[in-house]
């Protein structure tokens, strides 16, 4: 979970997806999640994963970093699969679902600055919740900086040595106590500022508009097609035998995606 990497890509990246309107990307992500929830054939799920990866590669998102993040839920899915799934295909389905869902969300986060992702959430939640959500993300970076300052100081003052793990742990716990005090002070100062600047509740975020209509259309159509395929295989029984075609299509997607991504580079 490297928030700074996500943030960096979202803010300084410049891919086709970065140019799409955040609202379109949110809808596309929702469609993909619906597809993940409904997919019930491992081969179709594999196709889904592959083509999503292919799409990310095609627009030149940092696919490798994204996959590392998506791997985390995969590990837990594997645990789940081995314990719960009756057979290998079902186990594979569980893992693929986890990876695909994570990949969909991560694609959104890697191509959209966090305010634009949180703003729609903020609009549908109570004021305190939405505002606190935006405030959390802002504070996260301040605190992370603070903590790296703290641990740097511990390091320089010889607080950490492998030979004395207990002392090292104690020093770290202290640092955490210091961080706690700091975050309370921080909230006090933030409160002062809110007061001074006339806060009455309700942060507002300028809505980012689409910089490229075709990007929105592409994202929406692409995820709609994937959902359509999933739905077809779920509810049209006759198709079950052809699920391998979806996997194949996914593989082709990935290959072309990788090629396009490389060509553009």
């Amino acid at each position: 979970m490297d928030i700074t990497a996500v943030d960096r890509s979202a803010i300084s990246g410049d891919t086709l997806l970065h140019r799409a309107a955040p609202s379109s990307k949110l809808v596309a992500t929702a469609l993909l999640l619906a597809a993940v929830v409904n997919v019930n054939d491992p081969l179709v799920a594999a196709g889904l994963t592959l083509s999503l990866t292919g799409a990310a590669a095609a627009v030149r998102l940092p696919v490798r970093q994204m996959l590392v993040l998506a791997l985390y839920p995969a590990v837990f899915a594997l645990v789940f699969a081995f314990a719960a799934a009756a057979n290998v295909p079902l186990g594979a389905l569980v893992v693929l679902k986890a990876v695909t869902a994570a990949l969909a969300v991560v694609t959104l986060m890697f191509s959209t600055p966090y305010p634009q992702v949180f703003a729609p959430i903020q609009r549908v939640t109570p004021r305190v919740v939405g505002d606190a959500l935006l405030m959390t993300y802002r504070s996260l970076f301040i605190l992370a900086d603070k903590f790296s300052d703290l641990s740097r100081a511990i390091r320089l003052r010889a607080g950490l040595s492998r030979r004395q793990p207990v002392r090292a742990a104690a020093a770290t716990v202290r640092a955490m106590g210091g961080l706690l005090l700091y975050s309370l002070d921080l909230s006090q100062r933030e409160y002062d500022i809110l007061h001074l600047r006339g806060y009455e509740g309700g942060f507002r975020v300028v809505r980012q508009r689409s910089a490229d209509r075709s990007a929105d259309t592409a994202a929406l159509i692409y995820s709609a097609i994937l959902l359509g395929v999933v739905a077809a295989f779920r509810w049209i029984p006759g198709l079950a035998g052809y699920a391998w075609l979806v996997t194949l299509a996914g593989a082709v997607d990935l290959a072309t995606g990788a090629l396009i991504g490389r060509r553009r580079r």
């Binding site: 305190v128 959500l133 959390t136 605190l143 742990a169």
Partner: protein, 291 residues
């Protein structure tokens, strides 16, 4: 922190939808209660404490990759209502940055909100009973009791879900694999506290691999499970209750250490809220004595 690591699209939809609905209700109620003390006070406080919890979860305390959660502390400082809001925010941010489990955000919020509310009630009850000098034992005991109760809740959810293989970690203790592991491999912050500077991550992927291997053997035992059927709640519970306590103790030690430090450095912090009505604990950050 009790955290259900269930992949999206696996849990029965009625369960996670119920989780979302309950969370929505909880948040509605919480924000009404929270705004009584003023939105302006609540927003920065919840923001800072949620950020603190998120940062803390990325810190390794012991080289074997044990990480803290600070939910009891967050609960003690925020109180139950702001705690519920903070729980939602923490879970949501985790899900968005690649933790997975967007659909189970609702269920996870309920778990952590409960943990924070329990932590708040126990810490403050204990301090009122025993006095602030005993902050360490109070904090430690509260943490253990809180985690024991939420673990029981988790077993309940597992029973509801009808699947015996819900993976869970208490602290970072993965009860399924009987080992401690750090779920935040690529840390939030790039500070290798004990290792070399910027290259602390390689080793962890190795443990992840080992982690998976262990499951292959374990899976054999679970072969009798049918899809979504035959739960082994009893076995799950047995594992949780025998191994969970190690995680609880570690979390308890850290909680006691941090709260002890805080009380020594700034005694007024907890004491004030001890004597104040529950909602007033939201004003904990008020240091200037001004408005």
């Amino acid at each position: 922190m009790s955290h259900i690591h269930i992949p999206d699209g696996v849990l029965p939809w009625w369960l996670w939808v119920t989780g979302w609905v309950a969370t929505a209700l909880l948040l509605g109620m919480a924000s009404r209660m929270a705004t009584r003390t003023g939105t302006r006070r609540a927003v920065p406080l919840v923001g800072a404490i949620s950020a603190l919890v998120l940062v803390a979860m990325s810190i390794e305390i012991v080289p074997i990759a044990y990480h803290v959660n600070l939910t009891v502390i967050a609960g003690a400082l925020l109180g139950p209502w702001l705690g519920a809001i903070s729980a939602f925010i923490v879970v949501l941010v985790l899900a968005l940055v690649g933790h997975g489990g967007i659909t189970v955000v609702g269920l996870n919020t309920l778990m952590i909100a409960t943990e924070m509310a329990l932590g708040w009630a126990l810490v403050h009850g204990g301090l009122r009973l025993l006095g602030s000098r005993r902050v360490r034992p109070v904090a430690a005991a509260s943490t253990i009791v809180t985690l024991a109760i939420t673990t029981t809740m988790l077993v309940g959810i597992v029973a509801l879900a009808g699947s015996g293989a819900t993976a869970r970690h208490t602290g970072a203790l993965d009860v399924e694999t009987l080992e401690f592991r750090n779920p935040f491999s690529g840390d939030l912050i790039n500070v290798g506290l004990l290792g070399g500077d910027n290259h602390g991550h390689d080793g962890e992927h190795a443990t992840e691999a080992g982690h998976v291997d262990e499951h292959e053997t374990e899976a054999e035992h679970d072969d009798e499970h049918e899809e979504g059927g035959a739960l082994s709640v009893s076995r799950f519970a047995a594992v949780v209750y025998t191994l969970g306590p190690i995680g609880w103790v570690l979390e308890a030690l850290v909680t006691a250490g941090v709260l002890g430090y805080v009380v020594r450095v700034r005694p007024s912090l907890l004491l004030r809220s001890v004597n104040a009505p529950p909602s007033a604990s939201a004003r904990v950050g008020d240091e200037h004595g001004g408005r």
